[in-house]
């Protein structure tokens, strides 16, 4: 006899853990935060499905920000690093086939964007974006330069800690997530109103990548480890749905 595994919906988002929409020290959130209560519903097929991104999509240099916007024979300027880790779900299972997109400022803290006005120089060999798809065990890696901290208009003297933005697509639209990775030991982490939207030191730590000497490439690149956790889907051997689904 074989038991048929039923998949239930996604575990609800823990709103006591995730940041609130309104965090006044991050001023822009004041007029961009919904004020009515969110409408809570169990996930349906619309949230339990997602587009498929095949490994074929990814070009050879897509996860190499040092080279993917560089002239032939040249490379981006800055401390060379590898960022690696796994995409897991809340049950600790690796999430294979997840699409990760990442973007960041250059080593001087400058983004390549028409609305960016920081006076730090652009690096002609650095675009600032990359992407990859997780392997069968949920693992991924990328190569880049360590981004610089940068000032931003909020308070009179607010600086972002060095960070890499991550966008993650898992297997269900309910898992859709955008977040940021910080670097162990950055003194700006404690000062940043965007980081401060997080509700606990544990949440800050969950976004702080550790230096990983085991994955460092000697005489070439340091490495940082950053795991990402997506919402988990309930699994049960007990049917709780009517026929037709």
């Amino acid at each position: 006899m074989s038991l048929i595994k039923q998949t239930g919906g996604y575990v609800p988002r823990d709103r006591n853990w995730q940041p609130d929409a309104l965090t006044p020290a991050y001023k822009t959130s004041i007029k961009r935060s919904p004020q009515a209560a969110l409408l809570s519903f169990p996930t349906t097929l619309s949230e339990e499905s997602s587009p498929v991104f095949g490994h074929k999509l990814i070009g050879e240099l897509d996860n190499d920000l040092i080279l993917n916007h560089a002239q032939t024979g040249e490379s981006a300027i800055g401390p060379r690093i590898i960022v690696h880790g796994r995409v897991l779900d809340e049950m600790g299972r690796g999430v294979p086939g997840a699409l990760l997109e990442f973007w960041q400022a250059n080593a001087g803290g400058r983004y390549r964007h028409q609305k960016e006005s920081y006076l730090a120089a652009l690096d002609p060999n650095f675009g600032g974006c990359g992407r990859t798809i997780t392997a069968g065990d949920g693992s991924y890696e990328l190569r880049t330069i360590q981004p610089g901290p940068y000032p931003w208009p909020n308070g009179m003297n607010d600086w972002r800690p060095a960070h890499i933005h991550f966008s993650i697509f898992g297997h269900g639209f309910a898992q859709r997530l955008i977040t940021q990775m910080y670097f162990e030991g950055d003194p700006h982490i404690k000062l940043c109103p965007i980081v401060d939207a997080l509700k606990s030191q544990k949440a800050v730590d969950a976004l702080t990548a550790l230096l990983d000497m085991h994955r460092t490439v000697p005489m070439d690149s340091r490495a940082f480890k950053f795991d990402i956790v997506l919402r988990g889907q309930r699994q049960t051997y007990f049917e709780n749905r009517k026929e037709g689904l």
Partner: protein, 204 residues
């Protein structure tokens, strides 16, 4: 010692910031890479069903359009089948991706999707849901992506029977979830983050 529940916490969200385009739609941001932006086209050939466009603007609490926003939509094909790896109810339209990603125009904030009218999909208990599209909004100032749904104002009967719409505590807010038909195959769906017309956002 008492046993432990060894679950992990979901990674906390952080704002997409003002430069989300660099990572998610670099070609729109002027970075020539990947041979095009993901999600820019939802159709890869002749599609089944009714082709539609959905235009809209996302407004903040001062009624100013968000010009740095990114909106993603996800929906089934015209027959109600998802182009998803876990779709087991049939074969979805091979020329339809179901997934679109659009920026707000950098001057006007207007976004546009060229898609198909979605078919109906069942609720977990087997009742049919009204045709709808799932939407997700990120931008500077938004700490965690906002989920909402786009239903259609020309689907009165289906909307009235929809398991979610029919259980909304404040029925006066339901119109915030309805795309308005503005012409043949054309719909408008404006989104308000705050104010008297605040769109219903979902914790789903």
């Amino acid at each position: 010692m008492i046993q432990k529940l060894d679950y992990l916490q979901e990674s906390p969200s952080q704002t997409a910031g003002p430069y989300v385009h660099i990572g998610c739609m670099p070609n729109f941001a002027g970075i020539d890479i990947y041979g095009g932006d993901l999600g820019a086209q939802m159709k890869t050939g002749a599609v089944q069903g009714q082709e539609i466009t959905i235009n809209g603007v996302i407004y903040d609490g001062t009624n100013t359009p968000l010009r740095d926003v990114m909106i993603e939509i996800w929906q089934p094909d015209a027959a109600g089948l998802f182009p998803s790896a876990n779709e087991t109810r049939g074969t979805p339209d091979p020329n339809f991706t179901g997934w679109g990603r659009a920026p707000g125009n950098m001057e006007t904030g207007e976004f546009m999707f060229d898609t198909v009218k979605p078919g109906a999909v069942p609720y977990p208990d087997g009742r049919m849901q009204a045709p709808h599209i799932t939407a997700w909004i990120v931008a500077r100032g938004i700490n965690i992506g906002l989920h909402t749904r786009i239903y259609f104002d020309d689907e009165d009967q289906a909307n009235a029977a929809d398991p979610i719409l029919s259980r909304i505590e404040f029925p006066s807010r339901i119109p915030t979830l309805l795309a308005k038909k503005t012409g043949e195959g054309a719909y408008r769906f404006d989104i308000y983050l705050q104010g008297p017309n605040e769109t219903i956002f979902f914790d789903i």
